[in-house]
């Protein structure tokens, strides 16, 4: 009896013991590691001397996080992972999960459509600004840029490090043409797309023979050239000062301002800047949906199939009679076009553009979104944009960290550090991105009937 009891409780005890041991061990290591980095801070005093002081509280938080974290990993995390592994072996197919997966895009869309209303309902028109603008619009812009770049990188397999150039072309097209010629947003939106597509072709021609790293370098240079032109062509672009007071977008000619025939007045609502943001939210949502629709359609069309085949094997493509020149150029042009749309939207939203918005870091972030999300996967890219951009915005909100690190702590400065860590982790555990598997675009219908006819003829 005693022996039985002993053997049944033994593993639990052992686990907790092991957890405590390893937790303490992790705490000691963390103490050693962070003692100088976190525990001691150097400052200059008024006599310009370097003084140091201890931050015992912050150090304690780090050590406790390490110790408790290790304890939890050992006692909860590892058994759970082991159980899941054993489960996966036994599990054949989980249809319930795939049904949920199928419904997910629709649920997401419903949520997005209701999102501004929810924000207004919960936080009031003024309070909703932050949620609609900083989170909603900002993330959706990057979703759209990610989906646009996905056509070039994910589908056609052409590594483009200068995608932000097309974003810039779109933004400046709108900014310049609307301020100089007074054209409206709805004329300039398609025009910006066309101009960006045109520049996409211009980039495309010289790089037709290049692939992989060589292509990446040239596109990187192209992105920088566009930015430098914007900075130095100051007669037109006003250089680093940028272009300000760009006209806002209108809804069927209705302006979003406090004037008598503005949107709020016409609808009999209290004037607020929230309406314009909500309008912009729906606008970028529509643009995103357009991008997704076009991408999904193109993948099923000959040109989309040719892109994917081009990514896989260029020589085989040529041997099958595919003109790789036009195929690459259309990929560049269509990818750039969506970048241009997003750019003109960006200009209309900000009311101000300057070359600072189109630095290489932007290209890198967009590319990171595409790679993290899983090249070619629309859903994965949307999730990656949500995590990357939403995460950045969340960092701004983390006021409570100031309690630990002192009042000067600005969490968003650690954005790149966290990006880096996140990227390493994702690439370690999901090397093909969040959604790594490619969805086939074609199926043979009535498969059973066909194979039946073969067996009848004795070929099966």
């Amino acid at each position: 009896m005693a022996a039985v009891q002993n053997s049944s409780t033994h593993p639990e005890d052992n686990l907790v013991q092991k957890g405590i041991k390893e937790g303490i061990f992790a705490g000691v290591i963390a103490f050693g590691l962070f003692l100088l980095y976190i525990g001691v801070v150097t400052e200059q005093n008024i006599h310009n001397e370097l003084v140091y002081r201890f931050r015992w509280f912050a150090l304690a938080v780090f050590v406790i996080i390490a110790a408790v974290g290790r304890f939890l990993v050992v006692t909860v995390g590892q058994p759970w992972l082991a159980a899941r592994k054993a489960d996966a072996k036994n599990k054949v197919a989980d249809s319930g999960e795939s049904a949920l997966k199928k419904a997910l895009p629709k649920l997401a869309l419903v949520f997005l459509l209701a999102y501004p209303m929810l924000a207004v309902g919960l936080a009031g028109p003024q309070g909703s600004l932050k949620y609609v603008d900083n989170f909603g619009i900002q993330i959706l812009i990057y979703v759209m840029l990610g989906w646009g770049l996905n056509i070039v990188v994910g589908l056609a397999g052409l590594l483009d490090l200068g995608y932000v150039a097309f974003y810039a072309v779109g933004a400046y097209s709108y900014a310049l043409l609307s301020t100089y010629f007074g054209l409206s947003f709805w004329v300039l939106l398609p025009l910006s797309g066309i101009l960006a597509a045109f520049w996409g072709m211009i980039l495309g021609f010289p790089v037709l023979r290049l692939r992989g790293d060589y292509l990446a370098i040239v596109t990187l240079a192209f992105g920088e050239i566009i930015r430098l032109v914007l900075i130095n062509w100051s007669d037109v672009t006003k250089g680093t000062f940028g272009i300000s007071s760009i006209p806002k977008a209108t809804l069927f000619g209705i302006k979003f301002d406090a004037s008598k025939d503005g949107f709020a007045a016409l609808m009999g609502l209290a004037p607020s800047s929230a309406y314009y943001k909500i309008f912009l939210f729906y606008l970028i949502l529509a643009l995103c949906l357009l991008t997704a629709y076009v991408t999904i359609r193109l993948r099923r069309m000959p040109i989309g199939r040719a892109w994917e085949a081009l990514r896989e094997d260029e020589i085989a493509c040529r041997a099958l009679g595919i003109n790789t020149v036009t195929t690459k150029l259309t990929a560049f042009a269509i990818g750039a076009m969506f970048g241009g749309f997003a750019g003109s939207f960006f200009a209309a939203r900000q009311g101000f553009v300057s070359p600072d918005s189109f630095i290489f870091m932007e290209s890198a972030i967009i590319l990171a979104i595409v790679v993290l999300g899983g090249m070619g996967s629309l859903g994965g890219i949307a999730v990656a944009a949500l995590v990357m951009i939403g995460g950045t915005e969340l960092l701004r909100e983390m006021e409570f960290l100031k309690v630990i690190f002192g009042p000067d702590f600005t969490p968003e400065l650690y954005r790149m550090l966290l990006f880096g860590a996140a990227m390493v982790l994702v690439m370690l555990f999901k090397p093909r991105g969040f959604v790594g598997s490619r969805e086939p675009t074609a199926f043979l219908r009535e498969r059973k009937a066909v194979s039946g006819s073969f067996t009848k003829e004795g070929h099966g």
Binding site: P302, R305, A306, E308, A309, E312, D313, I315, A316, C317, R318, A319, L320, G321, I322, N323, T324, R438, P440, T441, A442, F443, L444, R447, V450, S451, F454, E457, H459, G460
Partner: protein, 242 residues
């Protein structure tokens, strides 16, 4: 068989940079026959195949297909004249499914005949039908070869170029592949130009055969003639009869 010439290669010289890979090659393939080209590694067999397809293009000489000079045409336009190729190393699209790979093969006609042709291919290679939703990269070597040939056939070719279809395959599988080639030639009158290391199987199959050494065609004749030729036997057949 006294039919007209489908492919005529005359005096073709091909270079990789400054290195001459083909030095004046003459080869002829007639309508409805199986021709083969045998030779050692590095003799220039695959280079000749690629030169016919225009990648790289011949520096000297002429390639005439169906009465048309194709020496200077870009590769995709040559393919549009219905020269289909199952290239060396198969070069299927690894992340696309078998079915999508076949669709790519039919892109010349924009899938017009796709449904009937895909049935034909599945009849020829029933294994491909079983695996139609599988990604190309997950197929075995033999299945990949079948897919590569099937994809080339989807283009409804007048001339099928096969570069080492038996490369890396088990003897039984390569026998299946050769049988499929023979059947295609017999039932559909498809003209095939074949490059092979497996000289015995290739020569047995062929109406016309060429031996290539160091970028030159040194011998030609019917498959049977070359099989009986003592030089060919010594160089390519003895000891390597698989």
């Amino acid at each position: 068989m006294t039919s007209e010439t489908l492919l005529k290669v005359t005096g073709v010289e091909t270079y990789y940079g400054n290195i001459r890979a083909l030095s004046g090659v003459d080869v002829e393939v007639k309508q409805g026959e199986i021709a083969c080209l045998i030779g050692a590694n590095g003799a220039g067999k695959s280079t000749l195949m690629m030169t016919i397809c225009g990648s790289p293009q011949a520096r000297k000489g002429q390639v005439v297909f169906d009465g048309k000079d194709i020496t200077r045409l870009p590769t995709h336009e040559i393919a549009r004249l219905r020269i289909a190729q199952s290239p060396e190393g198969r070069r299927i699209f690894p992340r696309m499914t078998v079915y999508e790979n076949l669709q790519m093969g039919a892109s010349l006609d924009n899938l017009k005949y796709f449904n009937e042709d895909v049935k034909r291919i599945f009849k020829l290679f029933p294994r491909l039908e079983e695996r139609q939703q599988q990604r190309g990269g997950t197929l075995s070597g033999g299945e990949q070869q079948m897919l590569s040939i099937g994809r080339a056939l989807m283009a409804r070719p007048k001339l099928l170029l096969l570069d080492e279809p038996s490369l890396g395959l088990a003897p039984l599988i390569s026998k299946q592949i050769f049988e499929a080639i023979k059947e295609l030639n017999k039932t559909e009158g498809l003209t095939v130009f074949l490059v092979e290391q497996n000289a015995f199987a290739a020569l047995r199959l062929s109406d016309r055969a060429y031996v290539m050494v160091n970028g030159n065609v040194t011998m030609s004749g019917t498959g049977k003639e070359l099989l009986a030729n003592p030089e060919v036997r010594a160089a390519y057949l003895e000891g390597g009869r698989h």
